[in-house]
């Protein structure tokens, strides 16, 4: 018995000894220490999505801390498997990932390719749960949390209509698209991956009492044989040029810029919004790759990235590019406060409340995968 007690005491002493320095340090002391080590590392390696607006922000980090940012843009469907392949061959080349949530969650996270995220946070303004809509974890039921989504994306409603050609009486909600006159007469973004079209369908799910009824609608939708393109720019062009007067899933910064620059009377109608107003998704996320080679620089970067000032800059960059993006930080301002309110309201009232967002929750991802399967069955 005494030997067991001795072992337990020794174990407790070891834990206290190991954690004491961290416990004793104030956040500022820890920050200063990590910053000094980060400057010694001299660089942080970042993989980011192909958002053009992000690059000036990365340069600002370089100027602020004198730590070089080695950034590589790329889409997650090619970058994430590559990172995983490197890791599994013993090469740990990346520090921070600024990528959309899907592939990071579906590929890297289950394969153990990420570091638990929250231990990297130091700055009090970042670690304060009250500073974030949905708390630090953003309602995502993950423990530990590997992927921190810092933005809520207003995803629109999926359907876009040229109101100069099509009246509200003709198309104003999903069931209208099943009318015989629309057979082969509207266009969609090719449904082979989680994107606006699949999200829109997933948002439509609560309108049905059962999953089977929802699937029946989705099948009927694809049986209308909408014309598809895997280039969202082309679908948006079809709408703006008048080849099609109704499209689904073409939303994005390009369509927004067309609406603005060309003064097209394009509307995104929906009878009833089931996913929030507008539906919410996590357009972007930040995570730390497994065994980051520049751990301290990565720590400095993620904290800096999640500060109020930088989150405002990130939102500005996204909004300038036409995205309906809002920071999860409550104190981060927004160029369009009305939009911000709408997106936050959608986030707080969305039907996946408590389960995360359409692009982060397991349920949302499963619904989108099912849409892709149904589309494949229909020959897409």
């Amino acid at each position: 018995m005494s030997s067991i007690r001795a072992v337990l005491l020794a174990f407790a002493a070891a834990i206290v000894t190991a954690t004491a320095p961290a416990l004793a340090q104030t956040p500022q002391e820890r920050w200063d220490k990590v910053l000094a080590a980060a400057k010694h590392e001299g660089k942080v390696v970042i993989s980011h999505f192909t958002d053009k607006g992000l690059e000036p922000i990365l340069r600002e980090f370089e100027q602020t801390y004198g730590i070089k940012v080695e950034a590589s843009p790329g889409r997650p469907n090619s970058v994430i498997p590559k990172i995983l392949t490197e890791q599994q061959s013993g090469q740990f080349n990346w520090d921070v990932l600024l990528q959309p949530v899907n592939n990071v969650r579906l590929v890297l996270e289950p394969a153990g390719g990420l570091e638990p995220f929250l231990p990297f946070l130091i700055l009090p303004e970042v670690t304060d749960d009250a500073n974030w809509y949905g708390g630090l974890t953003g309602k995502v039921p993950m423990n530990p949390l590997y992927v921190f989504y810092d933005g809520i994306a207003g995803l629109g409603t999926g359907i876009d209509v040229n109101r100069d050609k099509v009246s509200r009486a003709e198309v104003n909600d999903w069931p209208d698209l099943l009318k015989p006159q629309w057979k082969k007469r509207f266009a969609i973004y090719f449904p082979d991956r989680p994107a606006n079209l699949t999200i829109a369908f997933a948002c439509y799910r609560p309108a049905f009492a059962t999953a089977a009824a929802w699937e029946t609608y989705v099948r009927a939708f694809f049986a209308q044989e909408p014309v598809s393109s895997p280039e969202f720019r082309i679908v948006a062009d079809w709408l703006a040029q008048g080849r099609f007067d109704v499209t689904v899933g073409a939303e994005g910064s390009y369509l927004e810029s067309l609406k603005t620059k060309l003064k097209r009377n394009i509307e995104s109608p929906i009878g009833e919004n089931r996913c929030g107003d507008p539906p919410d998704g996590a357009g972007r996320s930040i995570s730390v790759a497994k065994n980051p080679p520049d751990r301290n620089a990565a720590t400095i970067f993620v904290n800096w990235y999640l500060t109020k000032h930088v989150q405002e800059e990130v939102v500005k960059a996204y909004v300038a590019d036409g995205a309906q993006s809002v920071s999860r930080r409550k104190d981060a301002g927004h160029p369009d406060p009305v939009l911000q309110q709408k997106v936050v309201a959608g986030f707080n009232s969305g039907w996946l409340q408590g389960k995360g967002l359409m692009t982060t929750s397991d349920e949302g991802l499963q619904l989108q995968s099912r849409v892709i399967e149904l589309a494949k069955d229909a020959g897409y």
Binding site: T50, S89, R233, S253, L262
Partner: protein, 580 residues
């Protein structure tokens, strides 16, 4: 007519082999082993991975699940039918057109033929996506400029052109790459044709097309076969055009099925590898058949009595010139015009932007991008290194295959085909694994050296087959005469072989340079944050839908490629342009 067959090859290397198991034999064995490793190891990794069933990167089981998933994939049958019919159509049309064009360029008195040939090179340099969008802009069934122009002229029926169609896909392939690359490869072969039989036919009163059909084509059959095989392999892996033009009319092809597996969310590599290996298994017999035919048929050659008399086109001369010019305008001038125009448009393809149609903002965006200059430098150094290495290594390998009698030379030839028989996206992944899983290759992963090596492997078949054809056209009598005159083997190479094969070698170098500047899928997988080519830099604009900025990068890449081709010409190396 001097000719080279298996017998000649034996003669060619006899002086060397007399020394028995000499250093050269060991060098050959080492070369064979090196090439074998670089092509068979990635292939082996693919085969192994095709039997690993389970989510990528996690625990997998060994089984046939990927193969059964690939073979039972919905729509696979129609994808195969579409692939075969599209490939056969465009290769058939492309080959006939290219043979006629190459013959006109090389063997007739067509005005300005040297510069006309250069036009096909420029056409080949053009990046596919901006050019494709230019053609959509012109030939869209509803809003295409040409359809609108015809309607304005009074056309009242349904629009005559629709790019989103089976024939639209064929057309775009023909005018982007299919014809131009064939003309590039065939013209030097036509030019090096021994003129004696042609002249005899002319004396006998044969018509120009009779000479082409009965004399020229049979003599060039092995070269044509290589060009056709390379074209077919490229067709089977091409997906950019089908990916954009196919879905609206539900045309799926084999390569897009592979693409969807690879770039799915999450990726599903197993079935993609199975599909890629099926292409490999189908193409291997064709490669072997080509080797057999090439081994049996005699080749035309550059002999000691070489003097070309061009066929006089007579009164057709200027008409053919006008037709040529129209074709080149469609294949080169029009796409270049639209690419440059697009780079200056506020929104590509829109002439009704209230705030102004044209802007220089996209150029400012790209040129001010801090990554741009680094990418430009990386591209230049990687492409130049690839070109130089290919101009040294490929001729050496080709010479080993053509002019020695080592037993393994057929195997070496076969091995060089392998990287081309697997679709590009798949071979890119295999190379990624090869670099990461091979300790002595790991240090070059993500570096310029690694990219150069990958581009050399990917371009091996084209480069070596072209150089082989060039060497095989050189009559042995020239080498033998030099040796009989007391020249050493090295002196013979330096004074006889190298000068004669130089235009082909330079052409290979330029092709490899361009391929390195344009390669996307391999470059994305094997580049790092520290090494980024312009093609990868351009990708961020393409993927974010900023085609205007992507066009700017496209114009820069085009200027780069064209400058290199011009430089090669100015330095007198001629790229096979200069008629003899």
């Amino acid at each position: 007519m001097a000719s080279i067959g298996a017998r000649d090859a034996e003669i060619a290397f006899r002086p060397l082999s007399r020394r028995g198991l000499d250093v050269r034999w060991w060098l050959f064995v080492l070369t064979l082993a090196g090439v074998g490793f670089l092509v068979l190891y990635p292939l082996g990794l693919l085969v192994f991975a095709s039997f690993e069933v389970g989510p990528y990167g996690r625990e997998t089981a060994f089984g046939f699940g990927n193969w059964s998933a690939a073979l039972t994939e919905p729509g696979l049958r129609s994808a195969i039918v579409n692939t075969v019919t599209l490939t056969a159509t465009r290769q058939g049309i492309g080959l006939v057109v290219a043979i006629v064009l190459a013959w006109l360029l090389a063997r007739t008195n067509l005005p300005g033929r040297n510069w006309l040939e250069f036009g096909f090179w420029v056409s080949f340099f053009l990046p596919t996506l901006p050019v494709l969008l230019g053609w959509i802009f012109l030939l869209d069934g509803h809003l295409g400029l040409i359809n609108r122009f015809l309607a304005w002229l009074g056309w009242s029926g349904p629009p005559p052109f629709e790019i989103y169609s089976w024939w639209g896909i064929v057309f775009v392939h023909l005018v982007t790459n299919t014809i131009s690359v064939k003309v590039m490869l065939l013209t030097p072969a036509f030019r090096n044709l021994d003129p004696s039989l042609v002249e005899a036919s002319q004396v006998a009163g044969a018509s120009p097309f009779g000479i082409l059909r009965h004399i020229v084509l049979p003599m060039l059959a092995p070269t044509i076969l290589v060009v056709l095989l390379l074209g077919t392999l490229r067709s089977l892996e091409a997906f950019e055009v089908e990916f954009i033009l196919g879905p609206p009319v539900r045309i799926d092809v084999y390569s897009t099925a592979i693409y969807r597996h690879v770039f799915g969310s999450p990726p599903d590599y197993g079935p993609a590898f199975a599909l890629g290996l099926i292409v490999f298994m189908i193409m291997v017999p064709f490669v072997l058949a080509q080797q057999m035919v090439a081994g049996r048929r005699s080749r035309t050659s550059i002999g000691g009595k070489f003097a070309v008399r061009l066929v006089d086109l007579g009164r057709w001369r200027w008409l053919v010139f006008a037709a040529f010019l129209s074709l080149l305008a469609a294949m080169t001038a029009l796409p270049v015009f639209f690419m440059v125009l697009g780079s200056f448009m506020e929104v590509f393809g829109y002439f009704d932007v209230p705030g102004g149609v044209f802007t220089a903002e996209h150029w400012r965006t790209v040129l001010r991008d801090p990554v741009f200059l680094g990418s430009l430098w990386d591209t230049l150094s990687i492409a130049a290194a690839t070109a130089i290495a290919s101009m040294v290594l490929f001729p050496a390998l080709a010479y080993l295959i053509v002019r020695t009698r080592y037993r393994g030379r057929g195997l070496l030839d076969f091995l060089t085909w392998i990287p081309t028989t697997v679709p590009g996206i798949i071979i890119g992944l295999a190379l990624l694994w090869m670099f990461l899983r091979t300790p002595f290759l790991r240090p070059v992963y993500g570096t310029e050296t690694g990219l150069v090596l990958a581009f050399l492997i990917a371009g091996m078949a084209l480069g070596i087959q072209l150089t082989k054809a060039g060497i095989m056209q050189i009559s042995l009598e020239l080498e033998e005469a030099a040796r009989a005159g007391g020249a050493t083997w090295l002196a013979t190479m330096r004074r006889v072989v190298v000068p004669l094969v130089a235009p082909t070698v330079v052409a290979v170098g330029v092709l490899q340079f361009v391929a390195a500047t344009r390669a996307v899928s391999t470059a994305v997988l094997l580049s790092s944050h520290a090494t980024q080519t312009l093609a990868v830099f351009q990708l961020k604009y393409i993927e974010s839908g900023d085609l205007e900025a992507a066009s700017v990068v496209g114009v820069v890449v085009l200027m780069l490629s064209t400058s290199v081709a011009f430089a090669a010409r100015i330095f007198g190396l001629r790229l096979g342009l200069g008629g003899r």
